[in-house]
Symmetry: C2
C-alpha cells in the first residue's frame, strides 16, 4: 500500500511558514499564531525578508537560508510569488506543502496558467501539496492547527475534508458551542495536486477517524471517488453535502474553487452507490457526522423516545417515522416497568412523556436504564434534560425569595448525566440528546465532554438517528452481490456491429442485436427489405406485429409516424410498408412481435463529462420524461447496485404483485442494468442508450424499443 502524501502533511516533523509577519491583521500571521498555540511541538521556521523574528520565532530571510529542509512548507504569500518559492522549497529538499494563497484557476485563464506552473514544479521536484486557495489543516492527534480559526476544542473521531475552507477554519466557535471538535480536518482548495478523494482515502485509513464529513462542490474523478468511497463506507460512515447541482450552485462553485459541478441526480445516485449519507445542510454534516463518529452503530430501526414535553416527543417520533425508523409501542412488560416511575398522567407507550417534570433522575437514569436494557430497542432519543440553563434563567426572580447566590443556585441544580452518557457504550446502542439549551447548561456540557451528540431541535436528533440507520444498511450490504463481478467479456457480435455502425444513431435492429449479444432480452424481430419479406416475417412471428422503419440516424420514429403497432393483417403490413417507404425510400422494415404487458420501464446509458458512464433505470413509456422517476448508478454496476436501483424509484410498487399482475423478475431486470454498465465500459464512444419501453411480459422484462447513439 503506497503511503499517502497526507501522512506527512498531517504529521510534519517540522514546518516552515512563508507569508506570516508581526502584523496581526494579516491572514498568514493569524495562521502562524494558531500553529504556535495549537501545541505543535516540531520546529516552526518562518521566512521573512526583513523581520528577524516573527511572532517570537527566529525568522529566515529566504527559503534557501533555512537550516534544513522542513517537512512541510506553508505558503500564504502573494499569488505571483508562489511558483518561485515553491521551487525554492523543492530545491531545498522539502517534499510537502500547503498552499493557502488564492488567485489561481478560480480566477480565469491567467490563474489557470499559474496553477499549471506550480503543478509542473511540484512534479519536477517530486513534491505533493494541498491547495492552492485552501485554508489549511487540523490534526488533533498531533496536535496541529494551521487554519485561521483558533480551536476551542480538539476532537477525536470525526474528521472532515472540504472544498470550502470556511467549513474547516471558520466554524470553530459554532462547532465548540455544539460540542463538536475535528479529529482531522483538511481544506482542499483547488485540488491542483492532492484532491478530495485522496483525503477521503487517507481519512478512511486513519485509525483515529470513525466517521468522515465531506463538503463537495464538484468531484474531479468521479470513478475513483466512487471506488474509494465505496470501500471506506463499508466500515466508516461518510456524510456529504453536495451543492453544485443547481445552476446558481454550479456557477458559485466554479468561481469559488474552479470545480466542475454535475447534475444533482448523478451525485444523488453516486452517493447511494458509494454508501454515502447525503446531508442537505452543513449543519447536518457536522452534527450528524459527530453522532456517527461518537455513538455505537444502530443494529435495527426500533427507537425509544423519552421526553418531558409532548411537542418535542411527537416531533421526534414523527421525524423518525418519516425517515424510515420505527417508534414502536413498548411491550406491556416494559411499559409496566416504566410506569412505576411516571407521574399520573404520563404516557409509557413510546414516546414516554413524563410531562413537565423537574426531577431529572427519572429522565437521566431510571427510565433510560430500562430503555437501554430493553432487548428489542436499538437506539434512544431523549428530549428535555436541563439543569443550570433553566435555573440560570430563573435566578433573577429567585434570588430575592431564596436569598442565594447565582453560583450556589446553579451548583444546587446541577445534574450528573455521566451514568446516562456511559449507557451507549455499555449497551452498544446509540443515544441522541435534544435540548433547547446549549453550553449555558451544565448537563449539555457534560454530554459534550463525553461526546454524546446534542441537538437544538428534536427533529435533528431524529434525523441523526436515521443517518445511523442508513449506515447500518450500507454496512449490511451483502458482499456476495456488492462485490464487483467477474468481468463480462466483450461479445464479438457487439464489437462487429458497433464497428460497422460508425457514428451517430445505430439502427434499431443492430442496436437490439448488440443488446442480445449481452444476453439482454429483446423483442423477437426480423429485418425485412421487401414487402413480401415483411409479410413472411409477420407470419413467422405470428400476428399481431409491430412494423417500424429501420435505418441508421433515425430517431423519434413515433413522432415521424414510422411506427405501426398492433398490425393484425397482411393488408395492414402492406399499408405500413408503403407509408414507411414513402417517407424513407432506403429504410429497412423491422417486423417485431407485439409484447403484451402493461408495465413499461426504461433503462439506458447516459454520459456526462467527468463521470464514468451512467446507467439509468426508471418508469418508462412515453411519459417517462415528465414522470422523472428514475435513478442512476455509475458503471460498472454490481448486482447489489442494480437491485438497489430497482427499489429506489418512487413507483417501485408496480414492480411487485400489482393488481392481477405477478411480481416482476427483479434479477432479470438487475441483469439488464449490470450489462448496460458493461456495454458502456466496453465501448466508451457510446454516448447514449435508451431502452424505452422495456415491457414486463408476465414477469420478464423485454426490450421493446432501443436507441443507441455513438460519438
Amino acid at each position: 500500500m503506497p503511503a499517502s502524501p497526507l501522512d506527512t502533511i498531517m504529521n510534519p516533523g517540522s514546518i516552515s511558514v512563508t507569508g506570516a509577519s508581526n502584523n496581526l491583521w494579516k491572514m498568514g500571521s493569524i495562521q502562524m499564531l494558531n500553529l504556535i498555540h495549537s501545541g505543535y511541538t516540531g520546529d516552526i521556521m518562518p521566512v521573512h525578508p526583513q523581520e528577524k523574528e516573527v511572532l517570537g520565532k527566529k525568522a529566515y530571510s529566504a527559503i534557501a537560508d533555512l537550516p534544513y529542509a522542513p517537512e512541510l512548507a506553508i505558503m500564504v504569500v502573494p499569488t505571483p510569488l508562489v511558483p518561485e518559492m515553491l521551487e525554492d522549497y523543492g530545491r531545498l529538499g522539502t517534499r510537502h506543502a500547503v498552499i493557502i494563497t488564492a488567485g489561481f484557476r478560480e480566477t480565469g485563464d491567467e490563474g489557470r496558467k499559474l496553477e499549471q506552473k506550480i503543478i509542473t514544479i511540484a512534479r519536477d521536484y517530486g513534491m505533493r501539496f494541498l491547495g492552492p486557495n485552501c485554508l489549511g489543516i487540523i490534526n488533533s492527534q498531533l496536535p496541529l492547527n494551521i487554519t485561521v480559526g483558533p480551536l476551542l476544542k480538539y476532537g477525536g473521531s470525526f474528521s472532515m475534508a472540504s472544498q470550502s475552507g470556511t467549513y474547516i477554519a471558520q466554524t470553530v466557535n459554532y462547532l465548540f458551542k455544539n460540542g463538536i471538535g475535528f479529529g482531522k480536518a483538511i481544506s482542499v482548495g483547488n485540488e491542483a495536486n492532492i484532491d478530495l478523494t485522496d483525503c477521503l482515502e487517507y481519512l478512511g485509513k486513519d485509525p483515529h477517524t470513525r466517521a468522515i464529513g465531506l463538503y463537495i462542490e464538484g468531484i474531479r474523478d468521479a470513478g475513483r471517488f466512487l471506488d474509494v468511497a465505496r470501500e471506506v463506507s463499508k466500515d466508516k460512515p461518510i456524510i456529504a453535502q453536495y451543492v453544485g447541482g443547481t445552476d446558481a450552485g454550479a456557477r458559485a462553485g466554479s468561481s469559488h474553487t474552479g470545480a466542475m459541478a454535475g447534475p444533482d441526480f448523478i451525485y444523488e445516485g453516486m452517493f447511494e452507490q458509494a454508501g454515502i449519507i447525503r446531508a442537505a445542510t452543513i449543519e447536518e454534516v457536522y452534527k450528524t457526522g459527530w453522532a456517527l463518529a461518537n455513538q455505537p452503530g444502530l443494529k435495527g430501526k426500533r427507537i425509544a423516545v423519552l421526553t418531558n414535553s409532548g411537542g418535542p416527543g411527537t416531533a421526534v417520533a414523527s421525524t423518525c417515522n418519516a425517515a424510515g425508523l420505527e417508534v414502536p409501542e413498548f411491550s406491556p412488560e416494559i411499559q409496566q416497568r416504566i410506569g412505576s416511575y411516571l407521574p399520573g398522567h404520563a404516557s409509557a407507550r413510546n414516546p414516554v412523556d413524563l410531562t413537565f417534570h423537574i426531577d431529572m433522575e427519572t429522565l437521566t437514569f431510571n427510565i433510560p436504564d430500562i430503555l437501554f436494557k430493553a432487548p428489542d430497542i436499538h437506539g434512544v432519543i431523549i428530549h428535555g434534560i436541563m439543569d443550570t440553563g433553566f435555573m440560570g434563567l430563573l435566578y433573577p426572580y429567585l434570588k430575592e425569595v431564596l436569598n442565594i447566590s447565582r453560583e450556589d443556585l446553579l451548583k444546587l441544580g446541577e445534574v450528573d448525566v455521566s451514568r446516562l452518557a456511559d449507557m451507549p457504550e455499555a449497551h452498544g446502542k446509540p443515544l441522541m440528546i435534544s435540548s433547547f439549551f446549549g453550553i449555558e447548561d451544565h448537563s449539555i456540557t457534560m454530554f459534550h465532554d463525553r461526546a454524546v451528540p446534542t441537538f437544538d431541535s428534536p427533529e435533528k436528533a431524529a434525523k441523526a438517528m436515521a443517518a445511523l440507520y442508513s449506515h447500518f444498511k450500507v454496512r449490511s450490504r451483502d458482499p456476495e452481490i456488492y462485490s464487483s463481478r467477474k468481468k463480462f467479456p466483450v461479445p464479438a457480435a457487439a464489437e462487429k456491429l458497433i464497428h460497422e455502425a460508425g457514428k451517430g444513431s445505430v439502427n434499431e435492429f443492430s442496436a437490439k442485436n448488440i443488446l442480445k449479444s449481452y444476453g439482454i432480452p429483446v423483442a423477437r424481430e426480423i429485418l425485412a427489405v421487401t414487402m413480401d419479406e415483411a409479410i413472411a416475417a409477420a407470419r413467422e412471428l405470428g400476428f399481431p406485429v409491430a412494423v417500424k422503419a429501420c435505418a441508421d440516424d433515425l430517431a423519434h420514429k413515433t413522432e415521424q409516424n414510422l411506427v405501426f403497432l398492433d398490425i393484425r393483417t397482411e393488408a395492414g403490413i402492406r399499408k405500413a410498408c408503403r407509408s414507411i417507404r414513402k417517407a424513407h425510400a432506403q429504410s429497412g422494415i423491422l417486423v417485431a412481435e407485439m409484447l403484451h404487458g402493461r408495465r413499461e420501464l426504461m433503462a439506458g446509458i447516459s454520459t456526462h463529462p467527468g463521470f464514468p458512464p451512467c446507467v439509468m433505470f426508471g418508469l418508462g413509456g412515453i411519459f417517462a420524461e415528465a414522470l422523472k422517476d428514475f435513478t442512476i448508478r455509475l458503471a460498472p454496476l454490481t448486482t447489489g447496485d442494480a437491485l438497489e436501483m430497482i427499489e429506489t424509484i418512487r413507483a417501485r410498487e408496480v414492480l411487485g404483485r400489482y393488481r392481477s399482475m405477478p411480481a416482476v423478475d427483479r434479477e432479470a431486470l438487475a441483469d439488464i442494468l449490470v450489462k448496460l454498465g458493461d456495454l458502456a465500459l466496453h465501448f466508451p464512444h457510446i454516448r447514449e442508450v435508451d431502452l424505452n419501453p422495456i415491457i414486463i411480459v408476465d414477469t420478464k422484462p423485454v426490450v421493446a424499443d432501443a436507441l443507441m447513439i455513438l460519438q
Copy 2:
C-alpha cells in the same frame, strides 16, 4: 364582528392565580413568579388555603373571598379540584380562565369525563377558557407572561399559537439566543373551549402581529380552520409545522393533547389551499416566522448573495435555486460597481464572494448599498459578517503580542451594522443574515436588536427567503379566481339518482349521469338490457366501443373480467355480453365510446373523519396507486385552488404540450375538480368518488370510468 374571548384573556385587567404557593419548586409558583416579573400592572390575586401571602402578594383563602371577580383566572391546581374551582370563579363573575392543570382527555376515559364537566360548567356560566393541559400565554404588548419560562426578550410582531406548551414556554433561552421574541404566544392545550383556530383568528386580527407561527398535532374542525387561515394568509404569513401525519406522530400526539391527527397528505393539501407555509421543524417555525414578521415582503424571486467565504455562498445560492428562487448573474453595470470594492480574485457575478476578508465596511455597507438599490434584485442574503465573536476567539493568542485587554480588543473590533440593518425598511426589500457566530458576536446582537433575522447555517437563510417568496405568491393570488364562487345549485337529476341509489356503490351509468348533471364531461354511453340493444347502441355510438357490466355494488370490474375494450365488431359485442351475463345474470350492459388519448388522469372525492370532503387530483390509469402523484383540497374549491392542484402534481409536464400532444385544457380540468367539491358538499353521504381514468381527448378531459360509493 364578535369580540374574541382572547381579547380579554390576552389583556386581562386583573388576574387571580390558584395553585401558586411559596414553594418555588412548584410549577404554579414559577408561573406566578414570571407573571409578577413580566411587568404586568394589573391586580394579581393568589388564592391559597393556608398562606397569607404568596410570593409577596396578598393571598385569599378561597375564591369566594376574592374582593372582586378577576377578569382572568389562572389554575394550576390538582386535576380533581379544577371543576369546583372553575365553578367558584364562575359564580363570582369571572368569565375567562387559563387552565394549566393536566390530566384530562389526554389520559383516557376518566379524564374525558372530567373535561366534559368543565366544558359544561363554562357553558353554564358563560365562561371561555384556554386549556386544560396548557402552559399559558405571553403578551409582549401588555406586557404579560404566565408561562413557566422567564422571558429574556419581548418581541413585537411574531406571534405563535401551539398545541405544545413547550414551544411557547420552554424555548425562551433558545429564542433569545436567536434574537427572537414573541409578540403574543398562546399554548392551547386540550382546546376544550378555545381552540387553535380561535387563536389564529385572534392573531390574524391583532394589529401588533405581522406573522403567525403554528405548531399542530391535529386540527379539530378543519373546515373552519381552512376558512380562517385562508382569510388571514391573504395578508399575514402563517408558518406551521404539522407532526401528526405518521403513525408514531399520531400516537404521540394523541397521548399528548388527545388530538385526532390526520393523514399527512390532507394537511399538505390543506396548508397549500390555506396559503400556509409548511415548516419541517420547529426551528423553521421560529426562525422563518421571525423573518416573515420582521422583514419587508419579497416582491419577486431574484436574490443577491453576498459572502466572504465561498462555501456558504455556494450553499446559499444552491438552496435558493432548489427552493424556486433565482440567484441571477448581475448586470455588467452592477458587476462593475461591485468590482470596485473587490479584492483581486473575488467574484462580482452573484454570489459576490469577497473571499476571506476582515474589513467589514465592504461587506456591511458598500456592496449591500449597491445590491439594495439594484432595481432587478428583490432580496439580499449576506454571510460572513462578524466582529467581536472572532476577535474574542483570537484574544488569548493576541493578548501577549498586543498587550491589550479583552474589552479593548473587542471594542476595537466592533462593527456598526446599523446602516445595513436599516436598508430593508428603506428599500422595501428583505435581508437575511447567515453567520456561524451567535450572541457572543456584537454585530449579531445589533441585528437582533433591530429584528434583522440571523441564521446559524447558510441554507436556513436561503430557506427563509424562499418562505417569503411563498407568501408573496399567496398574497398575489388573483381574487377573481380565489374568491368562493356563486353556489352551484343541486341538479335535480343528481338528487333523484342519488336518492334512488340508496347505499353502497352506485352503478356506473347512474354515477356518470350524476356527473353529467354537474356538467362534468363523461364518455358517451348507452345502457343496454338485451344483446340486441347493446348492438344497436354500438352502432349508434360507432365502433370501436367498450362494453362493461353495469350494476350497483359492482366494483373492480377490470379485475373481474367484466370490462371489454376496443370492441370492433358485432360478434365482439355478443361475446362480451355473453361473458358478462354468465358472471352476472342481472347486470346491465354498458356500451361506451372508446376514448382516444394517451394521457390518463384521475380525480375523485375521499372522506376522512374530522375533515370536509377532500377532492383529489392526480395521475391516473391503473398505476395511479403506485405512482402516488396526487394532491388534495378540501371542498368547496375555488377555481384558483383547482388550477393550483393541476400545477402541483410532479408529472405536471404531461399537461402541457407534450411530444405531439397539445396542452390540456386546464380550465376544463379545473372545472371538474370544483364541481366534484360541490357534489361532495351537496350529498354528504357520498363516501368516495373515483374518476379513473379521465382521458385527455385532444385537449379535453373526459371521464372514462366512474366509481361512486354512498354511505
